[in-house]
C-alpha cells in the first residue's frame, strides 16, 4: 500500500495550495495519492492544515491552486452535495431536532429512497454500531461515545466510497477512545471503504492507519506506514513528533556508505545511519529511540559514559533520565526483567546503541 501513484490513486491531491487571507499559505504544495480502500491518517500539530485539507476534499473550501481528483476526475467544480463523501465532524454535527433514526434516514431521504428500504438501511447501520435500541432517542439524550457512534453510522449509511473523519474521537476519554479506535478500524476492514482520518494523537494514527501523512506547517513531512514512520523517520520533525525520541545534535565528520561519523556538540564521536544529513561538515540531528539504548557493559559499538539523573518506576519498565554526551534529557527505557541490574540515582554507567538504531537526520 505504501506506493500509490498519481495515476491509480482514488483520491489525489495534485500540487494543491490553500490560502485564506492571500498572504500566507496554510497548505503548501500538497501532493498525496490515496488508494481505494485505504485508511489514511493525516497527523500533525494544531494549525498544520489538516482540517483545511479535509474541507477542500469535502468541498467546503476551494483550493487556491492545484487539483483534487476523486476516482480520477477533478472535483474542484463539483458542489459538496454531489461529491458523495461521508463525513464525521469533530463535534459530531448530529441534528438536534431529529431523532437518531431521522438523522440516519436523512441522507437516504435526500436520495429519494423508498421508505421500506430506508428503514432497513437505518436499522442495519445502527446494528453495525450496536445502537439499535436508540433509534427513537434525540442526540441530546446520548452520551458522547454514543453520539460518536451515531455520527459514524450516519456517515456510512448511504454507502459512500469515501469517508472523512475530522478528529472524531477528540472529545472522548482515553478508554472510550481506544475502544472506538478499534471499532472504526473494524468497520473499515468490514466495509472496505476508503477513510481519510484526521487526528493529532499519534498513537491513534499509528494503531489505526494503513499509512500516515505527517503534516507540519502545511507540508507533508513524511508519508509512510506506521512502522516505517516510527522506526525509519526521515526527518527530525517526524522523529520528534512520533513516539519518544532522544536528540543529539552535532556535525558530520565523515560519511562512508550509509554510515555517518558524527561529532556530538556535547563532546564525543558516534556513528549513525546516514538518512537525511547532507555531506561531511553539515550539522545533523541524531535520533535514537529510548528502547533501543542498552545500559551497561554489553552496550554495542557506540559506547559512551552516562550518569543516572532520575528514575521513574512504571511497572513493566523503568524510565531512566540520564546525562549522555551533554544531553541531560536522554531517556532510556529499561525493561523490568528479573536479571536486569537495578540502577540508582547518581550512578555512573555506560550506554550504547547499534549504528542503524541511531539515525542522522536534518538539523532542525
Amino acid at each position: 500500500m505504501s506506493t500509490v501513484s498519481k495515476e491509480d490513486g482514488f483520491v489525489v491531491f495534485d500540487h494543491v495550495q490553500k490560502s485564506y487571507d492571500g498572504e500566507t499559505l496554510v497548505v503548501k504544495d500538497l501532493n498525496l495519492a490515496i488508494g481505494k480502500g485505504e485508511f489514511l491518517t493525516m497527523l500533525g500539530p494544531s494549525g498544520s492544515g489538516k482540517t483545511t485539507c479535509l474541507m477542500m476534499l469535502a468541498g467546503f473550501e476551494t483550493a487556491t491552486h492545484g487539483d483534487i481528483l476523486l476516482g480520477g476526475k477533478p472535483i474542484n467544480n463539483i458542489p459538496p452535495h454531489k461529491r458523495g463523501i461521508g463525513m464525521v465532524f469533530q463535534n459530531y454535527a448530529l441534528f438536534p431536532h431529529m431523532t437518531v433514526g431521522e438523522n440516519l434516514s436523512f441522507p437516504l431521504e435526500v436520495r429519494k429512497m423508498g421508505k421500506a428500504e430506508r428503514e432497513e438501511k437505518v436499522r442495519n447501520a445502527l446494528d453495525m454500531v450496536q445502537m439499535g435500541d436508540f433509534i427513537n432517542r434525540r442526540p441530546a439524550q446520548l452520551s458522547g461515545g454514543q453520539q460518536q457512534r451515531i455520527a459514524l453510522a450516519r456517515s456510512l449509511v448511504f454507502e459512500p466510497d469515501l469517508v472523512l473523519m475530522d478528529e472524531p474521537l477528540g472529545a472522548l476519554d482515553k478508554q472510550l477512545r481506544e475502544h472506538m479506535q478499534y471499532e472504526i478500524k473494524h468497520l473499515h476492514d468490514q466495509l472496505g471503504v476508503t477513510v481519510v482520518y484526521v487526528t493529532h494523537d499519534q498513537s491513534e494514527a499509528l494503531t489505526m492507519s494503513d499509512r500516515v501523512a505527517v503534516f507540519d506547517d502545511g507540508v507533508i513531512q513524511q508519508l509512510a506506514t506506521p512502522d516505517d514512520l516510527y522506526e525509519r523517520p526521515e526527518n527530525a520533525f517526524v522523529a520528534q513528533f512520533i513516539g519518544e525520541n532522544n536528540r543529539l545534535v552535532g556535525v558530520v565528520k565523515d560519511i562512508s556508505g550509509d554510515v555517518a561519523t558524527v561529532e556530538v556538540d556535547g563532546g564525543g564521536v558516534v556513528t549513525a545511519k546516514a538518512v537525511n544529513c547532507g555531506g561531511a561538515g553539515g550539522r545533523t540531528t541524531l535520533s535514537i529511540r529510548p528502547e533501543r539504548v542498552k545500559v551497561g557493559a554489553d552496550g554495542g559499538p557506540n559506547r559512551t559514559d552516562a550518569e543516572v539523573l532520575e528514575l521513574i518506576y512504571l511497572g513493566d519498565h523503568i524510565r531512566c533520565r540520564m546525562r549522555v554526551l551533554g544531553n541531560e534529557e536522554f531517556i532510556v527505557k529499561i525493561p523490568n526483567a528479573a536479571d536486569n541490574k537495578r540502577l540508582v540515582v547518581g550512578e555512573k554507567t555506560t550506554v550504547g546503541w547499534e549504528t542503524e538504531d541511531c539515525r542522522a537526520l536534518d538539523a532542525s
Binding site: 468541498g59 467546503f60 461521508g86 463525513m87 465532524f89 441534528f95 431536532h97 441522507p107 456517515s155 448511504f158
Partner: protein, 416 residues
C-alpha cells in the same frame, strides 16, 4: 453500608433537613432582598395602576353613589311594567340632593352613555326638582314626556349597577340590556371589533414583514466574522439612537404625496403627477413605518439564536447529499425557530399596542385600538370603556402567548 436509622444529622446534631432549610432560607432571603427595590417599584408603578385601571372596566359606582334611592327603586323594577310613583319619588329626591352637591352633571354624563340624549333630560329636570310636588310621576311627565318612556328607565337601571359587564361587552360590540340579556350593538355602533381586527391584521402583517426582511439580515450577520458583524449590528441598532418621533416624521417626509418617494416615482414614470400614490395617512403608511421601527426587535433575537447554530450542521447535511435548499429547510431553519418565535412574539406584542406611529401617520383608516383607548382616556373621558378596551387587548395578547406556548413552547424561546 452505615447503620444509620432515623434522620441524618450534621456534626452538631441538627437534623440535616433543617440545616439545609436554614441555609436555603438565607440564600433565598438574600435573593429576595436584592430584587426587592425593583419589585416594589414594579408593584407601585406597574401592577397597581394596571389593576386599578382594569378594575374600572367592570366597576362603576357613580350612579349608585350619587343616586342611592333611585338605585334601590330601579333594582325592584322588572323593566317591562309601567313606571311607578315610588321610582319617580326616589329620582326626584335624589335629584334635589345631586343638584345641591353639583354631582348631577356626572350622573347625567353617565346615563347619557347608555342612552344618548338623556343628558339634558337630567340636568333640566334637576333644576326643577326642588319645586316638584307629589304625585311625582305626573310632575316628571309634565316636565318631559321621556320620563314615561321605559327606555329611559332601562338606561337608568343599567347605569345603577355598580359591577357591570356593560363596558367589556361594549368593547366587543355587544350590548348589555336592562333585563340582563346581551345583544349585538346596532350596526352603526359596531366599531371596536372592526378596530380590533384591523389592529391584529396590522400586527400580523408587520410581524411577517419584519420576519421576511429580518431573517436574511440576521443570517448574514451570524455568518460574518465577528468584527464585521458587530459593525453591521450597530447599523441595525442605529434607529434606537434616534427618537421614535423623528423616525416616524421622517417617514412622513418620504411617503407623503409630495414626498421623496412619490417624486421619484413621477420622475421615473412609474406614475403620473396627478395619480401620486397615497402611502401615508392610511394603513399602508402605518405598515411601512411600523415595520421599519420594529425590525430590530426581530433581528436581534434571530441573530442571537443563529449565532449559536454551528456551520457544521449545514455542512453535514450537504455532505450527506442534501441540496443547499434542502439543507436549509430541513436542518438550518428548524434550529432557528426559537429565534423566529421570540422575535415574532416580541414584534407582535409591541405592534398590537402600538400608538404613536398610527397616531401620526395612520390617518383615518390606519388607527389602531390603542388610539381608540387614548381617545376615550383624553377626549371622551370614558375611562371605563378605555379600561375595558385595554382588558380586551390584554386578553388578546395573552391568547397569542398561550398559542405560542402550545405551538412552540415558551421555554424554547431565546431572547439572547
Amino acid at each position: 453500608m452505615s447503620d444509620v436509622t432515623g434522620p441524618i444529622v450534621t456534626a452538631d446534631g441538627v437534623p440535616l433537613k433543617r440545616k439545609l432549610a436554614q441555609a436555603m432560607f438565607r440564600s433565598r432571603a438574600r435573593a429576595f432582598g436584592l430584587a426587592l427595590p425593583l419589585l416594589a417599584f414594579i408593584i407601585v408603578a406597574f401592577i397597581i395602576p394596571i389593576l386599578t385601571l382594569l378594575w374600572r372596566g367592570v366597576h362603576d359606582s357613580r350612579f349608585a353613589d350619587y343616586m342611592p334611592r333611585t338605585t334601590e327603586a330601579v333594582a325592584q323594577w322588572d323593566t317591562k311594567s309601567p313606571i311607578t310613583e315610588d321610582m319617580a319619588a326616589a329620582i326626584v329626591a335624589d335629584m334635589v340632593v345631586a343638584k345641591k352637591k353639583h354631582t348631577i352633571g356626572r350622573v347625567a354624563t353617565r346615563v347619557n352613555r347608555e342612552l344618548p340624549g338623556t343628558r339634558s333630560l337630567f340636568t333640566s329636570t334637576a333644576r326643577k326638582a326642588k319645586k316638584m310636588k307629589p304625585p311625582y310621576l305626573e310632575a316628571l311627565l309634565k316636565k318631559d314626556e321621556k320620563w314615561g318612556d321605559n327606555a329611559t328607565w332601562q338606561a337608568i337601571k343599567i347605569t345603577a349597577k355598580t359591577y357591570t359587564p356593560a363596558y367589556l361587552l361594549q368593547a366587543v360590540d355587544l350590548k348589555y340590556n336592562a333585563d340582563g340579556s346581551i345583544t349585538r350593538q346596532p350596526e352603526r355602533y359596531r366599531i371596536y371589533m372592526k378596530l380590533l381586527i384591523r389592529t391584529m391584521r396590522i400586527s400580523l402583517i408587520v410581524t411577517l414583514a419584519t420576519l421576511v426582511l429580518g431573517y436574511p439580515v440576521a443570517y448574514l450577520l451570524s455568518t460574518l466574522p465577528v468584527r464585521t458583524s458587530n459593525l453591521l449590528l450597530i447599523l441595525v441598532l442605529l434607529p434606537f439612537w434616534t427618537s421614535l418621533l423623528v423616525r416616524t416624521t421622517s417617514w412622513i417626509a418620504i411617503l407623503q404625496s409630495e414626498g421623496v418617494l412619490n417624486n421619484l416615482f413621477v420622475l421615473f414614470g412609474i406614475t403620473t403627477d396627478q395619480q401620486r400614490f397615497s402611502m401615508i395617512y392610511n394603513e399602508t403608511g402605518v405598515l411601512i413605518a411600523m415595520t421599519h421601527i420594529l425590525l430590530p426587535f426581530m433581528i436581534l433575537p434571530l441573530y442571537s439564536v443563529m449565532k449559536t447554530i454551528p456551520p457544521s450542521y449545514v455542512r453535514a447535511a450537504k455532505s450527506m447529499g442534501a441540496r443547499p435548499a434542502t439543507a436549509f429547510w430541513r436542518v438550518y431553519f428548524p434550529q432557528s425557530v426559537p429565534g423566529i418565535g421570540a422575535g415574532a412574539l416580541l414584534v407582535f406584542i409591541l405592534a398590537i399596542g402600538y400608538y404613536i406611529t398610527p397616531a401620526l401617520v395612520g390617518g383615518e383608516d390606519g388607527q389602531m385600538i390603542s388610539n381608540m383607548i387614548d381617545f376615550h382616556m383624553r377626549k371622551s373621558l370614558n375611562w371605563n370603556l378605555a379600561a375595558a378596551l385595554g382588558a380586551v387587548l390584554l386578553v388578546v395578547v395573552l391568547f397569542f402567548f398561550w398559542l405560542y406556548d402550545r405551538l412552540v413552547g415558551i421555554d424554547n424561546m431565546k431572547l439572547g
